[in-house]
């Protein structure tokens, strides 16, 4: 329990609204100082989970612990959780400085301590020169910086962020994403970050928890989730994937639409799904000895900058393949194309 001094622990947490189960038997431990993202499609229960940690929702069963201490019956304002909202939720009648100082004042900190802390926080989020500005005079990105400083002001045990970047435009979103990560790393605060954007989650988290229908689908490091999705849903939700439904014959042989591929797996024979990432598909040269060949023709392509994503029709199914744009340039719709992949890149579910 000492390792969880300021960690968060959920054990068998469920929440039912009317006749829909928003969160179903979720157990999850977030270590002190860890940055955990919760991702999932809208309505998967990620926000409800966050609200149970903050105390705005009460679990119907199970327990939420912060720093090893059960939060049963502990009101929101005594939990010391910092929350950053999607819509910033800054107090419009207060300046940036007053917003940041609000929590410290409410907790009756000594005046000099409030002043130095609030100033330092504004400095930290890069808003030191806008201390006297009112929220409506600030851009969305600036407001969210203030909101972050305000949440950190009370020296929370846990920082909860609920889709903090989804109201911002792409450019600001990218800079602020890494700012949040930097501030989190510097302050070493336990952070739970809710987002529907899997790319965002992969790029800043120590671990990612994928939710679906109120339950945890998979929890792991970004690399684990990307390389070894535990389910078809995970394979499809995290990143872009090709999903091939076939049969595992055993002995490293996977058949799909009459083709046989050599794969590496420890699973038992039976109907199986293989996933292979688009960037793991490469054009097969004439001298290619790979047994895993997909023969088809180009049905479309999308220029993505450094990469060009090619849609390949194989056996009536469409597969995606990422080529370096230099290589993809010469391809046009209708061209025949042979792709192959390494057996270790075919991930069997």
């Amino acid at each position: 329990m000492n390792a969880l001094k300021n960690g968060v622990e959920l054990t068998g947490v469920s929440k039912v609204y009317g006749n829909t189960t928003a969160v179903r038997d979720v157990s999850l431990a977030v270590k002190e100082g860890e940055f955990l993202s919760v991702v999932g499609p809208s309505g998967c229960g990620k926000t409800t989970m966050l609200r149970m940690i903050s105390g705005f929702a009460v679990p119907d069963s199970g327990d939420v612990r912060i720093g090893g201490e059960s939060m049963k019956g502990v009101p929101v304002r005594e939990r010391r959780v910092g929350i950053v909202f999607q819509n910033y939720a800054l107090f419009p009648n207060m300046t940036a400085y007053e917003n940041v100082a609000f929590g410290m004042k409410a907790q009756k900190w000594p005046k000099t301590k409030i002043e130095s802390k609030a100033t330092a926080l504004l400095e930290m989020v890069g808003m030191g020169d806008r201390a006297e500005a009112y929220p409506r005079q600030l851009s969305g990105g600036q407001q969210q910086r203030i909101a972050l400083a305000r949440a950190l002001g009370i020296e929370p045990r846990v920082l909860l962020l609920d889709e903090p970047l989804s109201a911002l435009d792409a450019k600001v979103r990218n800079t602020l994403r890494f700012e949040i990560k930097r501030i989190q790393r510097d302050s070493g605060i336990t952070t739970i970050y809710v987002t529907h954007d899997q790319e965002e989650a992969l790029s800043i988290s120590d671990r990612v928890a994928l939710m679906r229908g109120g339950a945890l689908e998979q929890v792991g490091t970004p690399a684990e989730l990307y390389a070894a999705p535990a389910s078809e849903f995970a394979a499809d939700f995290i990143g872009v994937n090709n999903i091939l439904r076939g049969v595992y014959e055993g002995g490293g042989r996977f058949t799909w639409n009459g083709r046989v591929f050599a794969v590496e797996t420890a699973r038992k024979p039976g109907p199986a799904t293989m996933t292979v990432r688009p960037e793991r598909l490469v054009p097969a040269g004439l001298d290619s000895k790979s047994p895993n060949v997909l023969e088809g023709h180009v049905v479309g392509k999308v220029f993505l900058g450094p990469l060009t994503r090619v849609a390949l029709s194989v056996e009536g199914e469409t597969l995606l393949m990422d080529l370096l744009s230099a290589a993809g340039e010469s391809l046009s719709v209708g061209d025949p194309l042979k792709a192959c992949f390494d057996g270790s890149d075919g991930h069997l579910l």
């Binding site: 304002r77 819509n87 800054l90 107090f91 609000f102 907790q107 305000r150």
Partner: protein, 276 residues
């Protein structure tokens, strides 16, 4: 569309306002400065000399401030309850609007029928408790009784204003404040009130203005017995001893006072906004 065209579109309403608001008002203002054909401020100074006018002025103010204050006090929680009533909301909103469709006279008579000397509730109460109907209903025919009757059609106005405000309210502000450790008091005074303040102010100033000028209900209930400004003006115009110029002056005072109070409200509201 250019500006000239825009002004052209405003022409009809400007004409109507000029003919039916500005011109009569100017006329009233002009006439109010004449006594027996001579220019004079007597009609205004009489406010400080004549007990009736001074009394009616202050009774009107007391009545209007009371209704604005009580209407706000009652309307706030009720509007919150309606806002939170879920699927019954539209029905409750419709029900709330019903009193607004009655003319003031109807409201006045309704109160006589219900709470008058031989009113329904008066007689009902008399059955169970030993009360004197005359004493009991006497209250209704004073300015305090008017407050009660006015609230009947003013509270709905407050509710309608506030229901909009509640549904535009940003509840995440309350949550943010709570998570930062703020207790109920701080949340109420530092977050909720500043958030709803403008709506509360505009709602209560509306109540004030409406009760300053309301006539029908008071007329039905008390005739000309309770001296409020609209009633005194009415007496000056209709009685045998009619004094149009005096009525004009009182009308101007009524208009100016109401406008002033509303402007004051507005200013507090705007200052809150800019400092906010």
């Amino acid at each position: 569309m250019n500006k000239a065209r825009l002004y052209l579109l405003l022409l009809p309403v400007t004409a109507v306002l000029a003919a039916f608001l500005a011109w009569p008002l100017l006329l009233v203002l002009w006439e109010s400065f004449f006594v027996a054909g001579n220019l004079s401020h007597a009609n205004y100074s009489s406010l400080f000399v004549k007990n009736l006018y001074r009394e009616s002025f202050f009774t009107s103010l007391a009545l209007s401030f009371s209704t604005a204050f009580l209407g706000t006090l009652i309307g706030l929680p009720v509007s919150y309850a309606i806002h939170k009533s879920g699927r019954h909301k539209s029905f409750l909103m419709a029900l709330t609007s019903v009193p607004l469709t009655f003319s003031g006279l109807v409201v006045g008579f309704a109160f006589i029928v219900l709470l008058g000397t031989s009113g329904f509730f008066t007689l009902l109460l008399k059955r169970f408790v030993d009360i004197n109907p005359l004493e009991f209903s006497a209250f209704l025919f004073t300015w305090r009784g008017l407050v009660v009757a006015y609230l009947y059609f003013l509270v709905p106005r407050m509710i309608l204003t506030m229901t909009v405000a509640w549904s535009n309210a940003d509840w995440s502000l309350i949550e943010a404040a709570t998570s930062l450790g703020a207790g109920r008091g701080i949340v109420f005074f530092r977050v909720l009130l500043p958030m709803l303040g403008p709506a509360i102010l505009s709602g209560s100033s509306l109540l004030f203005a409406v009760s300053m000028g309301a006539f029908g209900t008071a007329f039905a209930l008390t005739g000309t017995a309770v001296k409020i400004l609209p009633m005194v003006i009415y007496t000056q115009v209709s009685d045998m001893s009619s004094d149009i110029a005096q009525a004009d002056a009182l009308a101007i005072i009524l208009t100016v006072t109401t406008t002033l109070v509303i402007m004051l409200y507005e200013r507090t509201f705007r200052e809150k906004r800019t400092s906010a």
